[in-house]
Symmetry: C2
DNA sequence: GAAGCCCATACCCTGGAGGTATCGATCGCG
DNA sequence: CGCGATCGATACCTCCAGGGTATGGGCTTC
């Protein structure tokens, strides 16, 4: 199977419409129909159930959609990381670290300082993205190593090292009724806080429907908290840099927040290995 | 990048010889030279340093080799799993479980029985391979779920659930001096056992050089142990099924052996999920 | 039943992948 | 030092696969 075929199939599977998929791919509809037909014939599997009015995925089609996405990510990662490896000696960054915008700032700063002091250190670019998007950056090669927060971020499929374990806290507007309390229990959180959770964009930059403000970075989020429009559950350390107008209340009965370093398991890069070694204090 | 280009590059990178790589790929040498040249031009990166007498990987080339291997595995997995998904309703196996030949037999049997009793159970094929080859089967889609043994097998990159934790033991010929002892400490194992470790084939079916007999399944290995030609460190449960002529001595000072279930993290298959649920006793 | 939507088929054309022949550089050897 | 052998690169040709346009044919909708 060629990546072109996988790209074509993913486009059709996502659009469930040959015409729109072809437009998205920048080709005409007939070649797309043929390409999918050939793919089905060679796999010996029906991937799409189509009538002249609708297109639907078969079971095999759903399997291929999931597998094709990860395969295409792996190919994209190969291309990006190779490009970066070639540029690295001539001024490009040797490593890209991705973190949640606004999170774990102190930790990251300390980490970068420590690493920069190493004799064989290479340049490190820091990339900041919304929650849940770091994993994607790691998978498709835009980043080499990520700061993740279990249990919120999905750690599956990466090598990890734990950096810190912290208790969670609720961040609300200063003066909110909750701030009068010593702590909140997770089970009563929703009722007591009385505010909608913020909504972050997904990997295509779109927002799901629902209550709660749309946010795309932490500065913006902290302002919205200070204005009493939303709240946030975060590690206690985040409360320190929240600033004016925001108060933190310890959250009980919730799992601790583990900050960890994650990287793709097949990475055998010398630079990455030495970065991880420094980060884990070995 | 197309998978064809990645296959070509991997062939050259592994052979470090355009002629042999072309032969392996079943094409002539000139198109291969051109394809690599084009790849380098499009990536803007020199991948191979070649003189008329030698071919060597550049830094970028090494990165691409590692990344390309995992990308090609992902593509192969997409193809295999799609094929299997299409065959499943008509008699093919819905799931493929891969385990080390001869290991954890009882556990696996119990697991399969429990799962088969589920209302929505699908057929499960069991695939047995040599140590260290299960991960590859999982990565390239020949299997959906594996039984692995930490810390011997490499768990990186998979979702896992722990099944059992056991103490390790040394399996030697019955009557071996060691069998007179209550236990052995890991640090003194090599000196006391006085035998070479067995050698298993790697992913291409080749054996590394060194002392110790070449083995490719556990029956064969147990016979060799009974003949006093080699020894094995295994979880204590393995000793039970070792049979005549083989004795087990507890091994101290070594990490416990964790038997775990592993599967590719992106798998969203309903069947796999229910298998894992049964296996973890939830 | 007329119109519109949408996927499949028919047919043509071009780019690029693959083949053969050969060059040019390098190394070993007498 | 010159000769042959080795090996990657280049030149040139062929052919097919991937892409385009035109159109058919099944459904749905008023």
């Amino acid at each position: 199977m060629e990546t072109r075929e996988l790209r074509y199939f993913v486009a059709v599977a996502e659009e469930l419409h040959f015409g729109r998929a072809a437009e998205r791919l920048g080709i005409a509809q007939p070649p797309l129909s043929r390409a999918i037909g050939q793919l089905e014939r060679r796999l010996g599997a029906r991937l799409l159930e189509r009538t002249s009015r609708s297109v639907a995925l078969t079971g095999a089609g759903e399997v291929l959609l999931a597998e094709a996405r990860t395969a295409l990510d792996a190919v994209a990662a190969a291309e990006r990381r190779t490009r970066r490896a070639a540029e690295a000696p001539t001024g490009g960054a040797g490593l890209v670290l991705v973190s949640k915008a606004g999170a774990a700032n102190e930790l990251v700063a300390k980490l970068l300082d420590q690493y920069a002091a190493e004799p064989d250190a290479v340049g490190v670019d820091v990339m900041l993205v919304g929650p849940g998007l770091q994993e994607q950056a790691l998978r498709d090669g835009r980043a080499d190593v990520a700061i993740l927060h279990a249990p919120w971020d999905d750690v599956a499929g990466f090598d990890t090292e734990v950096l810190t374990v912290e208790d969670p806290a609720v961040l609300v507007q200063a003066g909110h009724p909750l701030t009068g309390r010593d702590a909140v229990h997770a089970s009563e959180l929703e009722a007591l806080v009385g505010l909608p959770a913020p909504r972050w964009p997904d990997r295509e930059g779109r927002y799901a429907d629902g209550p709660g403000p749309e946010v795309h970075d932490v500065t913006q989020l902290l302002q919205l908290i200070a204005l009493g429009r939303t709240y946030l559950v975060a590690p206690v350390s985040a409360a320190a840099q929240a600033g004016e107008g925001v108060a933190a209340v310890p959250l009980l009965g919730a799992p601790p927040v583990t900050t960890l370093l994650a990287w793709p398991p097949q990475s055998r890069s010398r630079d990455l290995a030495s970065f991880v070694r420094v980060a884990t204090g070995a």
